[in-house]
Amino acid sequence: MTLTSITAKPAPEETQTCWSCGSMRASHFCEACGKVQPPAPVDYFTFFGLPRKLNIDVALLDRDFYELSRKLHPDLNARAGSQEQEWSLQQSSRLNDAHRVLKDPIKRTEYLLKLEGVELEEQSKSATEQARVTGQLKKQVVPPDLLEEVFELNMQLEELRAQKKMGEDDPALIEEIGRQKLELEEKHEALLEELKKYWKGWDALIDRQLARQAVSQEERKQVRDKMVDLLNRRNYIRNLVRDVSEVLGD
């Protein structure tokens, strides 16, 4: 591991010319001479020249990713000057980060929501673990439609844990928990499809905006909140499935 400090360089201006040959440039590398340009502080959508829409043609994204990799990757700039090599490293890591997030439907949605100023409910396993270690109550919202089911399942999990400690297990109970796990997994999958419906709503707003039509804050908030709620439910189920798998030992 090596440590360097971020040099306090001024944020790159919106220059339009290549630092090397002076031509009008694309944002990441110069179309004319191919030189890597200083990284601009842009979000992942802008990096790929995409509007902030959620329906993305992943095949097209991949194609752009490979094309940009052939320009920005450090291996292809290994003989350049040290400043260019540094830019290549920055640009290429940015490219990989952006591609990784945008190609995944959930990460993409979460990222967009973050850009929209939403802090997603912390439902991660680390939060659960932290709560367990510190003895604090985990900050979590049980989706109302799952309340009853989750209560029942947690009871069964407790029972199974206790049984395992005693070195016995009840095949009927394991089968029952396994069945519920399967159901949860199906629900988890179904929520992705549901999410994609909201994408349409969101993208329609962006289209209107791009066509310079008025979009109210209220409209944005409505779609946004629906997606947040859905993601929280989905994360909750995911963690539940993980807990169950752990107890079942698979």
């Binding site: 591991m1 090596t2 440590l3 360097t4 400090s5 971020i6 040099t7 306090a8 490979y66 990799s69 052939r70 990757h73 450090p74 291996d75 292809l76 290994a78 003989r79 490293l89 290429s92 890591s93 940015r94 990989n96 980060d97 591609h99 990784r100 396993k125 680390s126 673990e129 932290q130 270690v133 510190t134």
Partner: protein, 633 residues
């Protein structure tokens, strides 16, 4: 000759190799003994001079306390990590080792860190390449197991620096292998590389498309390989000897090494034969004899090779692929010669694996391909680009001793993550950050990479500072950290305490030592080689003077030859190899005609244009040269 040619190096647990892209295809550069493999064995001779490779192997048996092998297992590790290793390998740690200190190994009366020992192996490879090219070599691509963590990678890079090599890239071994295979096949599809070497196991799954080699998932075990099979067989032999013959030879390093050699030979033979007889001489005139059948051998090693199944399944799962979606399976590493291993791979992927390339050499060949890409590419590597991944997740310790993952495993590298930190107390000037690597949820179960303090945070109310910390994993898989306090714009000073590894200053001091002598060694070798060559041509000339051809030369020619012969004799004993070479060259030119005349008329047309030293390929020191004649600038 360009001085910045880049070589590819496979720094292996058991053997190491250096390769170079010659024209359109990579070739392994042999050593002076003509062997492609340099055993990764280092010993100190009676004069405390390091001896490397095949010559060092003999020390393993004769003076095992002056030799070390499998040092790769200790690279980037702390004393608390290697307790298992110490039970199985005769590593002799320095007596005054402090906890948290970089390991030091005793060799004779001296101690060396693992990077220094690896550097000696690297320097040998560097020399082999320099001898081959007749020019200094200073840049290299070095391969590492895909599953190596940050500390192990950094230690490898340090070893390169100590050896006087600028390490332009660390490439993952299975990925390098895929480059070597992909070169002649330029096709698209999903490839799995199963790499079981001497000390490490890697599995990588790649997508090949239009020259891009994209790793989608990797997994492995950095302490699983042929060594483990050897150790198992040794343990059995030692138990047998105690049980049947009633002697305990466990503390007899010499005998243990002899047993090691015997079981390794047996292991190799069992890949082609169905049984082998062990026969080892023991003290008090006793002998250990035992027959091992392949069937018994396979039963014994089953638990070891089965340990590769978990990583293979995990890699497939991470890649989101089923075994039947894999188009090709490639075998890498000497241990994949074992029929039982091949059978296991075949069963796991339900297809016949590729074994076209020598499993010992394919990684080095791939490293040479990557070196070629880095040096600007050629027709053979045009459009080739490697997109590799980080094998382990990067995390930060958060409250409650939990790991908060910031870069997940199998992320394409370079990759970055930005985290924001703040203070918990008014006026707090330092923020401590603990960086971890691994998949486990709790920090104590992950590999600690470093603890560092952000210092000089401007005095502000608790929670006010906003410290931006950027984590970046570069194309070598090595982490870089940088930090800045955003509100004040002030750079936070980072004070780091790496959990393992050498400091820059330590590496620096190690380099100078070996680098100085390396330069001197190189110069001396040049002189010796030039003198040898001078001897060859002078001997050939003596022969020529006695041949009937001599009489056919004009007086002018004879005079000129005599003058140049005198000139070569004059510089021949000096230390200026350039002058010796110049004199050789001049004499060579002057004797071209003589050389032609000396040849039988039947072959003279073929040899037209040849010089004296080329015509006489007799007993001169140049004759047994195992590689192409050295080229000099």
């Amino acid at each position: 000759m360009s001085s910045d040619r880049i070589v590819g190096i496979d720094l292996g647990t058991t053997n190491s190799l250096v390769a170079y892209m010659q024209g359109e295809s990579p070739v392994v550069i042999p050593g002076e003994d003509g062997s492609n493999l340099v055993p990764s064995v280092v010993a100190l001779d009676q004069n405390n001079q390091p001896v490397i490779g095949n010559t060092a192997r003999r020390f393993l048996i004769e003076t095992p306390e002056r030799a070390v092998y499998s040092i790769k297992r200790l690279m980037g590790r702390g004393v608390e990590d290697i307790q298992e290793e110490l039970k199985l390998f005769p590593f002799r740690l320095a007596d005054d080792l402090q906890p948290g200190e970089v390991l030091r190994i005793k060799l004779g009366g001296k101690t060396f860190t693992p990077p220094e020992i690896s550097a000696l192996v690297l320097r040998q490879l560097k020399r082999n390449a320099e001898r081959y090219f007749g020019a200094p070599v200073t840049k290299a691509v070095i391969t590492v197991p895909a599953y190596f963590n940050d500390a192990q990678r950094q230690a490898t890079k340090d070893a390169g620096r100590i050896a006087g090599l600028e390490v332009l890239r660390l490439v993952n071994e299975p990925t390098a292998a895929s480059l070597a295979y992909g070169l002649d096949k330029k096709q698209n599809g999903i490839v799995a590389v199963y790499d079981l070497g001497g000390g490490t196991f890697d599995i990588s799954i790649l997508r090949l498309h239009d020259g891009i080699f994209e790793v989608i998932a990797t997994n492995g075990d950095t302490h699983l390989g042929g060594d483990d099979i050897d150790n198992l067989l040794i343990t059995i032999a030692l138990d047998d000897i105690q049980g049947d013959l009633g002697i305990d030879v466990r503390r007899n390093a010499e005998i243990v090494q002899a047993i090691r050699k015997a079981v390794i030979d047996a292991k190799i033979v069992l890949s082609s034969q169905t049984s082998i007889k062990l026969d080892i001489n023991l003290p008090q005139g006793k002998r250990y004899q035992r027959e091992i059948t392949r069937e018994q051998f396979e039963q014994l090693i089953q638990p070891i090779i089965d340990r590769t199944i978990g990583p293979v399944r995990q890699a497939l799962k991470d890649a989101g692929l089923k075994p039947e979606q894999i188009d090709e399976v490639v075998l890498v590493g000497g241990s994949t010669r074992i029929p039982k291993v091949r059978a296991l791979v075949k069963q796991l992927f339900n297809r016949e694996p590729h074994t076209d390339l020598n499993p010992d050499e394919v990684v080095a060949l791939g490293a040479a391909v990557q070196a070629n890409i880095l040096s600007g590419g050629s027709t053979a590597t045009e459009n080739m680009l490697l997109l590799d991944v980080t094998p382990l997740s990067l995390g930060i310790e958060v409250a409650g001793g939990v790991t908060d993952k910031v870069i997940l495993r199998n992320s394409t590298i370079p990759a970055s993550a930005t985290q924001f930190y703040t203070t918990q107390v008014d006026g707090q000037a330092n923020v401590a950050i603990h960086v971890l690597q691994g998949e486990r949820e709790l920090a104590k179960d992950c590999r600690s990479l470093a603890r560092f303090d952000l210092k000089g945070v401007p005095p502000m109310a608790a929670g006010m500072p906003r410290i931006e910390v950027k984590f970046l994993i570069d194309a070598n898989g090595i982490l870089h950290v940088s930090a800045r306090e955003q509100r004040s714009g002030k750079e936070a000073e980072i004070q780091v305490q790496p959990s393992y590894g050498l400091t820059d200053e330590q590496v620096e001091s190690m380099i100078l030592d070996s680098f100085d002598s390396a330069e001197e060694d190189f110069r001396q070798r040049q002189v010796i080689e030039a003198r040898n060559e001078a001897g060859t041509i002078l001997t050939a000339l003596e022969k020529g003077k006695k041949s009937p051809a001599w009489g056919k030369l004009t007086t002018d020619e004879k005079k000129r030859i005599a003058k140049l012969e005198g000139a070569l004799n004059a510089v021949g004993n000096e230390d200026d190899y350039a002058a010796i070479r110049k004199a050789i060259e001049a004499l060579n030119q002057a004797t071209t005609h003589l050389a032609e005349l000396m040849m039988d008329s039947a072959v003279s047309s073929v040899l037209k244009g040849k010089t004296m030293d080329e015509v006489d390929m007799g007993e001169g020191p140049m004759a047994p040269h195992p590689v192409a004649k050295a080229e000099f600038e």
